[in-house]
Homo-oligomer: 212 residues x 2
Amino acid sequence: MKENPVKRKIVKTASNLFFQKGFHGTSVREIAKRAKVNVSAISYYFNSKQGLLEYAVSYYYEQYLRKLEETLYNAQQTEPLERLYELIFSIIQYKQENYQFTCFIQRELSMDSVFVREMVVTYLAKENHLLEEAFDAVFRDHMKLHKKRYIFMQLKGMLITPYVLHHWKDFVIGSYSSDLFVKHYVSHIKEWLDFVFEKYTSQPPSKNTNYI
Amino acid sequence: MKENPVKRKIVKTASNLFFQKGFHGTSVREIAKRAKVNVSAISYYFNSKQGLLEYAVSYYYEQYLRKLEETLYNAQQTEPLERLYELIFSIIQYKQENYQFTCFIQRELSMDSVFVREMVVTYLAKENHLLEEAFDAVFRDHMKLHKKRYIFMQLKGMLITPYVLHHWKDFVIGSYSSDLFVKHYVSHIKEWLDFVFEKYTSQPPSKNTNYI
DNA sequence: ATTTGTCGAGCGAATATTGCAGGATTCCTT
DNA sequence: AAGGAATCCTGCAATATTCGCTCGACAAAT
């Protein structure tokens, strides 16, 4: 990515436009115009518009998954619940750092195309696996399967809500810094998960961390 | 809508395609082809592709808001918490009945265009108002503003999660009937809200309803 | 007879992509 | 270190295709 300023500028501009108007809603001409590069440069670096998309998505997800794996690796010795919290923190933090592209991906994922299906098996399956494993380590023996699925779905929902409700986000949360939002939001999730933990395992959750 | 079979078929086919490929990803030719009508029919009935979209969206939202208002009207005398539950039930039920179009709208809403902005002020503002009013009636005096915003955001998140996470929905929830999903999911929300209610108002929630 | 609906052909504009020419840069050999 | 060759990059114009939409003819219904 860093290698070439033109390449980077194209990806950055494209991401911004995709976020605003969607993939099909933006033309390569407009990308080139806004990035102040020639149209041919896009074909040159990425072969096609689709290639540009795939490049950006790969870059996003490989960085993302690497970060999650690092987080889990560094928290190998900590207890399951704490490990889960740190994973959640990393997820929200990364999504917030790449806010626009996160929104865009989340939207594009709800389409039905061969590209989306490929993305699901290569990246989303892994993301889900990491999260579910960390989740299971906490709740495996304390919940019925049916219940567990709903709680897990609720957790996943909370991890994407800020990136699909973004018309209301500014209004609801207020417009403070990203870092502050991450802290507040993660501690909101934590509060909820602590309750779930207490309710289903009848143990008090750990108290030794505070993200605020 | 009912008035004309061709008109209806166009809207239905278009909704289906918009759901799969998005608005910009669908061409009028393909709509016409799949609906087995002539391309001109679309211009004839809706003036333009955009007109077709606006017609479908208006139809969807007007039916939706009417249903929510009816629900609230019929529950005028019931206590606030119960009223909120019934509103939630109506919301999920309607969204489930119009599953594909709900997904589509939810996705299109995260774009930035004059159309989306118009949609926000005409429909979403009202939807939010109804929900927030019912929510406020329960929690107004029991929560700090900051906390209330997060909980409300979480509720809104739960109302859209099944329609943005739909790649996982089948896997997570299993593939039983829509009606059954509505009941289960609403009672899951209810369980969560009961906890929130208990925690912040220090009163036991009502026990007289059971959606399962 | 007038309105209403359906049809295929086709228009102009916009789309992604490519060909080619020339400039810039890098790399290799002497 | 120098010069030349190969490669990388950019710019403009043109490509074929697809887009939304319209026209006028014709059929059906009122």
